[in-house]
Symmetry: C2
Subunit: 206 residues, 2 copies
Amino acid sequence: MDIYIPELLRELLPKELLKQCHAHHFEKGTYLFHQGKKPEYMFFIVSGESVLTRISNHGEPTTLQRCKGGFLSEASLLSEKYHCDAYATQTGMAITIPTQALREALMNSDFAIKWVQLLSREIMRLRTQSERLSLKDIKSKLLHLIETEGTKGTLKLQADFKSLASEIGVTHEALYRTISTLEKDGTLIKTSNSLQLTRKKIYLAT
Amino acid sequence: MDIYIPELLRELLPKELLKQCHAHHFEKGTYLFHQGKKPEYMFFIVSGESVLTRISNHGEPTTLQRCKGGFLSEASLLSEKYHCDAYATQTGMAITIPTQALREALMNSDFAIKWVQLLSREIMRLRTQSERLSLKDIKSKLLHLIETEGTKGTLKLQADFKSLASEIGVTHEALYRTISTLEKDGTLIKTSNSLQLTRKKIYLAT
DNA sequence: CGTACTTTTGAATCGCATCAAATCTGGTGG
DNA sequence: CCACCAGATTTGATGCGATTCAAAAGTACG
C-alpha cells in the first residue's frame, strides 16, 4: 500500500493501522457518510472540502463544521451511528481508516494518548469558535479570528471570503463591507487569500 | 476517604484514582485555576458554578464556557499549562483529581476509552453549540436550544434566564422579550425554571 | 427592611440581514 | 482563442431585530 499519507497521520497512527489506510477520492456533491449510519471508516481529509451537516427537526439543514484538512468525524470513533452527514463541497481526497481497527488501536496506550490529545485540541478550538460566535459585531469576530487562527497577525484563507463569512456566522455582503471598512481605516490589509493586521491601529474594546 | 463522589465519577474512574480524589470547596469570586499555570488537578464540579474565561489580546475577558456540573477542563489533561482561567461565579463544591494520576490512568485502556468517550461527547456538544450560535435570530436560537438540550420539548434551566441569554449569545432584555412573545403566541410555556414547547404551534422555517 | 440581583418594560439607535443587481473571475467547451 | 457560464466579489437601498441605555418592579437573602 504505497498511497500518499500525510506526515501527521504517519506520526499519529500505529504501523498496523497505516497498513489498513486507503485513499478515497470524492466528488463535489457526494456524501462521505450519512447521519444514522454505522461508522465503518474514519475519514482524514487530504484535499478538497467536506462539511458536516444535520437536518434539524424543522427540515432545514445546518452546517456543523467545515473541514478542509484533518479528521472529519473524530468524535464519532466510538459512536454507534453518525450524528450528521458529511457532504463534499469540493472534490478531493481522503484517507480512510477502518473504524474497528482504530478502536482496537486505542488499547495501545501510546496511541490512546495521541488520540486524547487530538480530541482535546479540537475541544479547545471549538470553545474558541463559540467564543467568537458570541461576539456581537462583525469587526470583533473578524479580529478575533485573525488573532486566534492567524499567525503573527496574518490569517491565510483556506477558501474564499464567502466561506469565511459563514465560518464566523455572518452574510458575505456584510463581511465584505466590514473588511473594506477596516482596510480603509488602516487596521488590516487584504489580499486575495489572506488578511493581515497592521500595527498602526490597535483595536481597543470599549 | 469517604467524601461524596458522584455516580458518574465512580463509574468513570479506576479504583486507584477514586482514592486520590478530594473534595474542594470554592467560594464565589475565587479562582479554581489560572491561565498559564501547570494543571495539577482536574476539577469535577459537583455544585455551584464556574466559568472558563480568557483575557483577549485587547484586555477584555470573555467567557469560553459555563460549567454547572461535570469536568471543568477535560481538554487540559495533557496540557503543559491551562489556556484559560476558571472563575467561580457561584459558591460550590468540586472533586479534585491529581492530573498526574489521571494521566497515568490513561495507560489503562478501559479508562482511556471512557475518557475518549467523554471528550467525544463534549466535541459533539460544542459543535451543536456553535451551530446554535450561528443562527440569526433569537427565536431560532431558543428553539434550537430547547430541542437539542431539552428533554421531550422541555428545557430545565440550570440557572436563571440571564445566564441562558449569555449562553445563546444575546442580551437578557432581548431574550425576555422573545420568550414573552413566544409565550403569547402559544409556542411555549415559561415557568421560573423551565421552558416547555407546546404542540399547538409548529415552528416552520421559511 | 435593606441590599443585590433578576425580571420586566420602554424608547432610541444602529448594525446586519435581506433583496437586487452589477462587475469580476476562473474555468469549460465550441 | 473566444464565448459563455457559474461562482465570487462588490455596491446599493431598505427594513427589521437586537443592542443599548434607562428605569421600574419583583425577588431572594442576610
